[in-house]
Symmetry: C2
Subunit: 297 residues, 2 copies
């Protein structure tokens, strides 16, 4: 891991996005170790606050994490008329959970994280992320997502998959069988949300996910929103539901007072609508077209 | 400049965004020199095609430049009912010009680029960028933007400022006096478009621009859209008009046939509407609010 810190710069290295690199200047390494599942690193950066890195890939920074967590939580939760039972697969850093518990409709949340070390380290070094871990509504289970889901039938209104990239421990969370398991674990009218990377970088992944999910769910949409410290500066959010109302409009519109009470800095009902509008190259990738020129490069 | 190429990686260095770095893997350096105004570099990258760099900052890559050029050209041109006379300040690489001439309404375009070396190098090494430079509609003037504008009165329907970052040669293009000059050079009902960086990185710049421009123009709006190889993966587009119709809806809606004929891969009329919707932190920065917590970090 020492190579990554040449001259006090941490440089992200991942075979998923070759030919490009993002680096953050390091002030102090706060934690570096290996769990049963992955390398875990936390450092204080010069201009992005504290940074969590898993297997060499930036998971969140103090400066921009709210954008990701708010979209991962509020896009699906406002797309359901009454989200009482929520499951988060992954998300051991607590960030998505922190946003989910803000909804008074939510009665019970289960966090299913394979690696309990992530949560332990986050509690210690990223405490603003883990504020909801000990909340009354919350149950934490340390298990592998697919294994956990196999036991579940019609249990959740919303399932959020907050895994890492489609490589290593999280690879199975992008395969067809996983979307079948999720469907079976949903209550009637339920819906799922999953991070799906940027269409700039993963056109084939997104094309496949679109095709797979449209065979399983009646309503499937892709949103894309700004996220500076992820590759290409954005993140894709896949939403699939068993209800047939359009997912690009919130079923529950948060008032300005609610947004303020929830301390939102990224999500608004207007953003909810806007982020489902894709550039034409990305629309063709995800929704398909007869045009053979579907890749931006 | 050699430091930037350690181990065949080009690393962007700019004091405007400290603590973060973006790098592209280099296959071959095609051109490296210094003009009267700046360092100019072109290289073949491993995964982003050819790359143009001015004073150490990436200006465009073959893979994603269409996103920036399409927004810089089609956002303002579709916001005007009949854009016959167009001025581009900067934009010597020809990319915005290539998009502007696609509009049959446009009768005359002037490209005012201070550095003719940029165009010469682009013609040689980035020929798909400069396809419109010798077009019948086009006049190229090598002059400084503000100086050129001082001579102009009510001459243009649309003025697009495609300058580099607010430092060095392009600094004056972000100051109050420049927006007065632009206004005076516009025909009645005219409008301007300028690149304005990301709200994540330049909150104070954007707050100032919003305040200045609202004093000069009746209609002022900020759009933000994905641009992977710019810092934070996005670019801001400032639009100000002398007409009072909302700029977040196109005055001329391009049909699907028109979009296809123009070879668009990013801009759509739906994207036009979507990109003016800002995350709440960015909305507060640009449009102001009583909330003191206006910065994301």
């Amino acid at each position: 891991m020492m190579d990554a810190f040449a001259s006090n710069w941490f440089t992200e290295t991942c075979p998923l996005f070759p030919g490009q690199r993002f680096s953050l200047q390091v002030q102090e390494v706060l934690y570096s170790g290996r769990s049963d599942h992955q390398d875990i690193l936390v450092f204080q950066s010069k201009t992005y606050g504290r940074v969590l890195v898993l297997d060499g890939v930036i998971q969140c920074t103090e400066r921009d994490e709210f954008a990701y967590q708010e979209m991962m939580a509020h896009l699906p939760l406002t797309s359901h008329p009454l989200p009482e039972d929520v499951l988060i697969v992954g998300g051991g850093d607590g960030g998505v959970l922190r946003e989910v518990v803000k909804h008074p409709e939510v009665k019970r949340v289960t966090l299913c994280e394979i690696d309990k070390e992530v949560t332990r380290v986050a509690k210690l070094h990223l405490p603003w992320m883990t504020t909801a871990i000990d909340h009354d509504k919350v149950t934490v289970v340390n298990a592998e997502g697919s294994t956990f889901l196999r036991e579940k039938q019609h249990s959740y209104d919303v399932i959020i998959t907050d895994g890492s990239d489609p490589i290593g421990p999280a690879k199975s969370l992008f395969e067809e069988n996983y979307y079948e398991l999720l469907k079976q674990a949903l209550k009637p009218g339920g819906l799922i949300c999953q991070q799906t990377e940027s269409p700039w970088l993963f056109p084939h992944l997104l094309r496949n996910l679109g095709t797979i999910c449209r065979q399983i769910y009646p309503e499937v949409r892709l949103a894309v929103a700004s996220m500076p410290t992820y590759p290409c500066g954005e993140m894709g959010y896949l939403l699939c539901s068993l209800h047939t109302k359009p997912l690009n409009e919130p079923q529950r519109v948060l008032t300005e007072v609610q947004q303020q009470e929830m301390g939102l800095r990224f999500y608004t009902p207007e953003m909810h609508k806007a982020v489902f509008t894709l550039p034409s190259f990305a629309h063709k990738i995800f929704y398909g077209s007869n045009d053979s020129e579907e890749k931006p490069n």
